[in-house]
Symmetry: C2
Subunit: 276 residues, 2 copies
């Protein structure tokens, strides 16, 4: 018998992946969680029937989301990750030797625990002494912080279900207040070709709150349409320009040239978010 | 009743799109051809159960494939398109005022005729007096040409079925001979993340034949993995550098910055094709 997992990317468009083995399934306090082994994508984590991360391409997503803000900031010491319970963003943040503490706040303890048990490629950061994991509502957590972080990374699910609050303007306002002077945030902000209205709306909120807002993109095969956008909001530094030496970090996708290239948008996408 | 078209991207991974209306279906001399209307992707052309081109993202593919070689060549007057019977590449080539003649050679008259009848977004070049359409085997056609073209564009199907011959080293040898001094070719060369071995193999053949060979990439949501590679072989000009003014061409995805950006590869993809 063939076992397939199917995800609705957008109404009328679905991705299906053949499953070799169901590694784990549970109903957490917030969502349905599944870990599958597949031939094509390797091990994958699925939340509420949406692929969150796969062995084959998670590096593309996490390196884009994390290293762009981290490399644009002159000295990121205190870093906050909202969401990202799988640990992939935490792993990437901790590669930077400037980091003194990386705080991961995920609402769903089930995701963190599942990663610790079943996602060895992702979970290596949890045991780092600089890592702090807090199970809490990210919206509330950030609202209580004041000038504490150099970089904040929003590694959320899609803007439906538990992730919805992490795309609100009030959340970006709280992030701005939680950033130290010269700080910056980056968030995953969906597919700019398949979901242009959504991307424009989210970007508009970030732009309203931050003095500097820029959209960048990268390939991401297992997310809808294989092409993903990220939005930076900055209190000072230009997110488009890497300013530090990466030292001995070994990147799979990121490079200073990829960093700069990521901010070059085609005329249609550029017009959609920047107007003109 | 819901009607869905499903394509196997790679073994164990499938894309499905809901079909509103079957516009046309036929068995041509070479392949099964279907034109569907869909809500999500607009009108789509399918050959042998593989999506060739869709209304929503064909501009990404055709602008990458065509304008990169066209803008890197100082004066492309004679242009040859192998494949591309849908007309999208022809339409883009003819936007360049330098072009005196654009010759399209497709093996399958059925595709050209279907485009003329059912693909208004793609077929506008066929009526241009500079366009010449030849129904012939591309491999044979190119083998007989000598120093006739400034730019040759290989707009093939995948390297299985009728398209297989258009990925052979002997074909690239013929292309080289068919190019005028300083000429260049560009070909679609599949997904560098999902099919690294295939991309390396194809690139290796182009590199063996041409003094200059470079890989570039772009987003392409409805092709496997949403991220696509193209390979340029050049007898002189650097394919990575646009050298002409585009005049009044209105691009949807292409820009000189997108052109340069397209050649910036992540370390893993770069190593896969360039070694090191």
């Amino acid at each position: 018998m063939e076992l397939w997992f199917t995800e609705e990317w957008v109404p009328g468009l679905k991705l299906s992946v053949q499953v070799k083995n169901v590694v784990h399934k549970e109903k957490t306090k917030f969502q349905e969680l599944a870990v599958y082994d597949t031939e094509t994508l390797g091990r994958i984590l699925v939340l509420d029937d949406v692929i969150q991360t796969t062995e084959i391409d998670e590096h593309l997503y996490h390196e884009c989301l994390v290293h762009v803000p981290m490399m644009s900031h002159p000295n990121p010491e205190e870093v906050l990750i909202i969401g990202g319970g799988d640990g992939g963003s935490l792993r990437e943040v901790l590669k930077h030797k400037t980091v003194k503490r990386a705080t991961l706040v995920d609402i769903d303890e089930g995701v963190v625990e599942a990663s610790k048990k079943f996602l060895p490629q992702w979970n290596t950061g949890f045991s780092d002494p600089r890592a702090r994991v807090i199970i809490a509502n990210g919206l509330d957590f950030v609202a209580q912080a004041k000038e504490e972080y150099d970089v904040i990374i929003v590694d959320s699910t899609d803007p439906i279900g538990p992730g919805e609050a992490l795309f609100r303007e009030e959340f970006y306002e709280s992030i701005k207040k939680a950033l130290r002077p010269g700080g910056m945030m980056a968030a995953q902000t969906e597919n700019p070709v398949l979901m242009p209205d959504l991307v424009r709306t989210i970007f508009g909120r970030v732009k309203k709150v931050f003095p500097v807002a820029k959209l960048y993109t990268g390939p991401m095969p297992t997310y809808p349409g294989g092409f993903w956008s990220y939005t930076c909001g900055s209190l000072g530094p230009d997110p488009g320009e890497p300013v530090r030496d990466a030292g001995d970090i070994s990147f799979r996708y990121y490079s200073p040239e990829i960093h700069r290239r990521a901010f070059v948008l085609g005329p249609e996408v550029a017009k959609n978010v920047y107007g003109g």
